[in-house]
């Protein structure tokens, strides 16, 4: 049997398929009851309305079942709220490699600043501009590089 933590951590985000839910920082806890063997997984959504949550829950249960943990429960918590600061360094590198500019650190006091320069994940140029602060998923904004003209997604700081 695979360790339940490893099994849950291997689940890939259904909307950004280059990064696992562990790297994204939404996997909060994996606990196994030593007596019953029942596994309890705790996750938190990126955005309150994230439509991927049902799929993520199903994927976690499937991964655990394959790993030999059929008796599993997935709980959702909202506090503390998810922050892009929880995305791991490895996760940030994978996002960049997939053409998604990773988020800058969240400014203190919870004030969301939108004026930070975002580097183009294709050519590395800082000469970029925001096309729309809302993108193909709730957590992304649409940007464009003025150097190489490529449009790209940017995971916005939250």
């Amino acid at each position: 049997m695979v360790n339940p933590r490893e099994a849950a951590a291997s689940v890939v985000d259904p909307e950004i398929r280059v990064i696992t839910i562990d790297e994204l920082g939404i996997l909060r806890a994996v606990e196994e009851d030593p007596a019953s063997g029942r596994v309890t997984v705790t996750i938190t959504p990126t955005y309150t309305g994230c439509p991927a949550m049902d799929v993520i829950r199903a994927d976690i249960r499937r991964a655990l079942a394959v790993a030999g943990h059929a008796d599993a429960e997935v709980r959702t918590v909202f506090s503390p709220p998810w922050s892009t600061d929880w995305i791991s360094d490895g996760g940030r590198a994978k996002l960049a490699a997939a053409g998604i500019a990773p988020p800058a650190p969240v400014p203190a006091a919870g004030v969301v600043s939108l004026t930070l320069a975002v580097r183009c994940p294709q050519c590395g140029s800082p000469e970029t501009e925001q096309v729309s602060r809302f993108g193909s998923t709730a957590c992304k904004a649409l940007w464009r590089c003025r150097s190489c003209s490529e449009p790209f997604d940017h995971l916005k700081a939250l």
Partner: protein, 241 residues
């Protein structure tokens, strides 16, 4: 005056009805990026609505879940402020509604994050981050249109004049509520004053202040909105994707 159930239901209904109205723009927005933006904001509102209505159902302890509250109540049982049920109008009216709503929800959710009720505090802490983006988006358009062409200025000012009277209801005093809405007014006024000034727009004088949403007395527009929003669930109870 209102217990935690009525308070939570009111906020949940605000978010739900705002989500439904914003979603009406999907495939109809003036440009592709705006279509995506309004759908995203609608999704955030829907997410907050689901959390708030689920919790309201638990507070009520009458066996009603989020779906029962969203789909099986009639207009007189809804507790949203009138502001969110008003028709979208032109794009300027939609932006005036979005801007005023976000300027109210951001300090509201921020205050909720520090309130004594743990569940409401968690919802507030989560939703305020999203509200900051909504406020930024609404303010950007109010400024762009207000300080734009003669025609965009005229229409943005008309939209502000039309929607403004409906903002007063949001701040009706309720000292017993987890967060007294009256305490949110200074932050709202400060935000609105600064943005309208930059947009070269004039704040209408205070006068007519329509209200009634929090007690279930709505405009005629809500029943039409509900008829469309609820028809599938009522025609096929318990239907699932």
């Amino acid at each position: 005056m209102n217990g935690p159930f009525d308070f939570t239901l009111g906020l949940g209904d605000d978010a739900l009805i705002a989500a439904q109205r914003l979603a009406e723009w999907t495939t109809r927005a003036p440009e592709m990026e705006e279509d995506v933006a309004l759908a995203n904001i609608a999704l955030d509102q829907l997410g907050a609505a689901r959390l708030l209505l689920s919790y309201a159902g638990e507070l009520e302890s009458a066996g009603r879940d989020e779906d029962a509250l969203a789909y099986l109540r009639d207009d007189r049982e809804f507790r949203n402020a009138l502001l969110v049920e008003l028709p979208n109008g032109d794009f300027a009216v939609t932006m005036a509604k979005l801007f005023f709503l976000a300027a109210y929800q951001l300090p509201l959710y921020t205050a909720l994050a520090g309130c004594a009720d743990e569940r409401l505090a968690a919802i507030g802490a989560k939703a305020r981050k999203e509200s900051a983006y909504h406020l930024d988006h609404g303010a950007l358009w109010v400024k762009r249109l207000g300080d734009g062409t003669e025609e965009s200025h005229r229409r943005m000012q008309a939209a502000v004049d039309q929607v403004w009277p409906y903002t007063h209801e949001l701040f009706a005093a309720d000292p017993a509520a987890p967060v007294d809405p009256a305490t949110l007014r200074p932050a709202f006024d400060e935000t609105v004053g600064a943005v309208l000034a930059e947009a070269t727009l004039t704040l209408p004088g205070s006068g007519w202040a329509p209200a009634g949403g929090r007690t279930g007395v709505h405009t005629e527009h809500l029943a039409y909105l509900l008829a469309e929003m609820q028809v599938l669930h009522r025609a096929h109870p318990g239907a699932q994707w």
